[in-house]
């Protein structure tokens, strides 16, 4: 390993682990990117993470970070405040997101301008504490702007929330999965994952009136067990620092079937399970 200041080869520049204050390079050909700062013409890391280089741009991807939104991301958020014509939404980011009254669907899917009476009954749509399934519409310096203008978006019910590191959730075409084990998951890119009872797709459309309902359907003990098992598997994947996708969740789920749900997170079982899940993931890639 060469001294920090004169660092030359590309191989050393990428995939190196740095801590805040580590000198990355003093070569003037590089430009500083995210997670770095310059002092006396040397680029230093401002976070702990992995150095990445794209052409001349050097950046550091931190190992732990808050969610930074991009337009089109599917997120799960929690309403923190009801304001005039807007809701504030916690999306695990540096700032709260905003959901405008004009960016939601009305019950029954009626399309019209929102009137003053809609404004007065905003809490019947979303109240403080509610979880919403939404998409990022705009990314402004004032925070993310969300919308729920699709039949599958809206209020979440019939399940529980699991929080993971946002960088473990890769952006993909689909973030809503009906797993073969009879559980629906919404894998929010912001690290909030909603695990719930499976509702057949046909029923979603006929229940358009129910999109703002707070009432859970009746959930059998069997369904409850499957939900808890998936939730525990996700917590385990998070602890293993493994990418969280529908495939990795199913691997963990299948490997976990030999154990009781309540034992999944105990040291004895988790270490065992971690080995089998990791070896299975290694086989796939």
């Amino acid at each position: 390993m060469q001294a920090d200041n004169d660092f030359a080869t590309d191989a050393e520049l990428s995939s190196r682990i740095v801590t805040p204050g580590s000198a990355i390079t003093s070569d003037p050909m590089y430009m500083r990117g995210h997670g770095t700062f310059t002092e006396n013409d040397t680029i230093y890391s401002s976070v702990s993470g992995v150095v990445e280089r794209i052409n001349k741009l050097v950046s550091v991807r931190s190992l732990k970070q808050r969610y930074s939104g991009e337009v089109g991301d599917i997120v799960v958020g929690r309403i923190t405040e009801v304001g005039s014509k807007r809701w504030r939404v916690d999306v695990n980011s540096r700032q709260d997101g905003v959901l405008m009254l004009s960016s939601i669907n009305l019950p029954g899917g009626i399309l019209r301008r929102k009137s003053e009476s809609d404004e007065l009954q905003m809490r019947t749509f979303f109240a403080e504490g509610d979880l919403v399934f939404a998409e990022v519409q705009l990314n402004t310096p004032a925070g993310l702007s969300l919308h729920t203008r699709s039949i599958q978006y809206g209020k979440l019910r019939n399940g529980q929330l699991v929080t993971v590191f946002p960088q473990l959730v890769p952006r993909s075409r689909n973030h809503f999965h009906s797993l073969p084990c009879g559980v629906d998951v919404v894998i929010g890119v912001n690290g909030y994952i909603w695990v719930s009872k499976q509702v057949p797709a046909s029923k979603v459309e006929e229940n358009a009136e129910l999109i703002y309902s707070d009432k859970n359907d009746s959930i059998s003990d069997h369904e409850r067990e499957a939900i808890a098992r998936v939730a525990n598997c996700i917590s385990l994947l998070n602890r293993l620092y493994v990418k969280i996708t529908d495939a990795s969740i199913m691997y963990a789920y299948e490997e976990s079937l030999h154990h009781l749900v309540k034992d999944l997170l105990t040291k004895r079982v988790a270490v065992d399970l971690a080995h089998s899940v990791k070896s299975r993931l290694a086989q796939q890639s």
Binding site: R78, T80, A127, E128, G129, D130, L131, K155, L156, R157, N158, G159, Q160, L161, D214, K215, N216, I219, D221, R224, E225, I227, A228, R229, A231, N232, S235, L236, R239, L260, V261, K262, L264, L265, T266, K267, A270, V271
Partner: protein
Amino acid sequence: MASLTLSPAEHDFITRGVESGFRSDGRGSLDRREVTLRIGMISQANGSARCRVGNLGVGTDILVGIKAEVNPWSPSDGVPENSGTIVCNVDCSPSAAQEFEGRGGEELNVELTQLLDRIFNGPQSGIDLEKLCIIPKQAYWILHVDVLVLDVKGGIVDALVWATRAALMSTRLPRVVVESIPDENGVMQAEFDVVDDPEDMTELVGVENMPIAVTFFQIGRRFVVDPSEQEEAVSQARMTVAVSPGMDICAMQKGGVLRGFSPALLAEIMQSAQTVASEEFERFKNLYSEARSQTLDQMDEPSTGSTFLVPF
């Protein structure tokens, strides 16, 4: 304790799960999470322990240090003339939860301090406080129990008592030599000398009789022990029951203002407390002896916080 706003759907999901005996993480209502225990990590203290309740290395994290101090007796202290005393102090660190910032944790600090005092400072704790008296009406030992709550992931109280119990068990007091010396008038006066020898230390008397606490959280029509953060946010009331190794209930404290307990539920809670406590005593014994063997191995190097964080 921690303020967490849940949606009505989550609220209902958790409540109905508890009522059907299947919690969100798959546990039954009386199942507890894993506990990690370390002792003797503060070398300047007479006794210390760190206890974490939670799975996969995340959970409620409590650090307890015990410092013994010789205090001259005075009638205004409120300490009996032939006994010593235990003074508890609980501090919720602002790094544990956002609402502890500023003065936010004060109310909880007072509540938990009072609870620890209720359990440990008195004959119900099993510790022989009279042995903490050095010379009646002259000098006695004060044991300062200082508790720091480092992280909150549901159910502070049980972890608090676990850690305090472990710290008191690991406490070693210096030996005190009491002599009678005649003063200038020829009247015999008792005088004492604290032996300053790290090898010559004694354990507290009666530590094996200390109680263990089991806290029940009422959710819907049922109750759970060792709640997760979400379950705690849903619970309407909580009841801490301290049970001695002889299975006697020696202290109780209710918390949470949303609701009371029905007498039938309370009777059931007290029954369950004894069942849970007898399992907890067994678990504590195993973990404590494990923690003790680890400290003996690392006698040269007192274990620090960082070694505590690697169990997974």
